[in-house]
Symmetry: C2
Subunit: 135 residues, 2 copies
DNA sequence: TTAAATAGGACTGTTTTGCTCATGTTTCTA
DNA sequence: TAGAAACATGAGCAAAACAGTCCTATTTAA
């Protein structure tokens, strides 16, 4: 369950939007606020739009906004929208990729840890996150 | 907490040895049995020897063996021996690497998930693993 | 002496990651 | 209706990580 920087950027972006849902924000403003390279974020946003997590509005005064209420979006789906399903070891997602997994004593542990992480990330929604303040 | 293939190889190797502790096995034999490229495993073994997890004996009839009892070796230390400490996001290990981590709402989640994984991997020792049979 | 083993270092090819750029399209507004 | 401010799309690129090989020691049992 490695999270790429790209997915982290996506999370930050959604988090930013979740703090002012319904508001339309420009990618540039979000990039500045969240310390993300602007044109890179633009690419990331494209994917989030395409899968229907964000809505975009073109033209002057355009920008992006959440397509759903923050509490209806969880951490896992944002991460997987960018990097697909992942695990500590590929075999935990796709056992066929590993010639040993059927007889491997370690395999069940990868599966278990993935399950725990997935559960936790699914439980965390962006309404919670938006409320949460840093320590 | 991504686990590289290299670390996985290390785990398989230690697991193999844990099934016949005290026995001296050649790297070649282990490589064959565990489907690991031989010369690659040789490099991996070097590191495990250097940090004192394995003992090696040179010369004809030489090979490697565990330096401790299987139940005194846990999964985490083998993995970290190869790839160092890891997490879903670097900031969970080293908060200074991230300019946001102090105020980031997501950061505590990375930390929490890392703690869970580390705990679990530490709890699993190679005596358990060696006994364990595939589903 | 020789063969079988580890030790060590240099090196290489591939993939992933992180990111930029150029160009096009849409739409508000003056 | 022109122009500026947005997003959309695809190509491309550099650096790092990853996976692995190879060659040359060195050691040691037989």
């Amino acid at each position: 369950m490695y999270v790429t920087r790209q997915a982290d950027y996506a999370v930050r972006c959604v988090l930013y939007l979740a703090r002012a849902p319904h508001r339309i924000e420009s990618v540039g403003a979000i990039a500045r606020a969240m310390h993300i390279p602007r044109s890179f974020l633009a690419k990331i946003v494209q994917r989030l739009v395409k899968i229907g997590l964000l809505r975009s509005l073109r033209g002057v005064q355009g920008g992006i906004q959440l397509a759903r209420r923050p509490r209806a979006i969880n951490l896992l789906e944002v991460i997987e929208a960018i990097q697909g399903p992942s695990a500590m070891r590929e075999c935990a997602v796709n056992p066929r990729d590993c010639c040993l997994s059927a007889t491997c004593a370690v395999h069940p542990i990868w599966v278990e840890l993935r399950r725990v992480a997935v559960q936790r990330l699914k439980r965390e929604n962006f309404a919670q996150l938006a409320r949460r303040r840093a320590r």
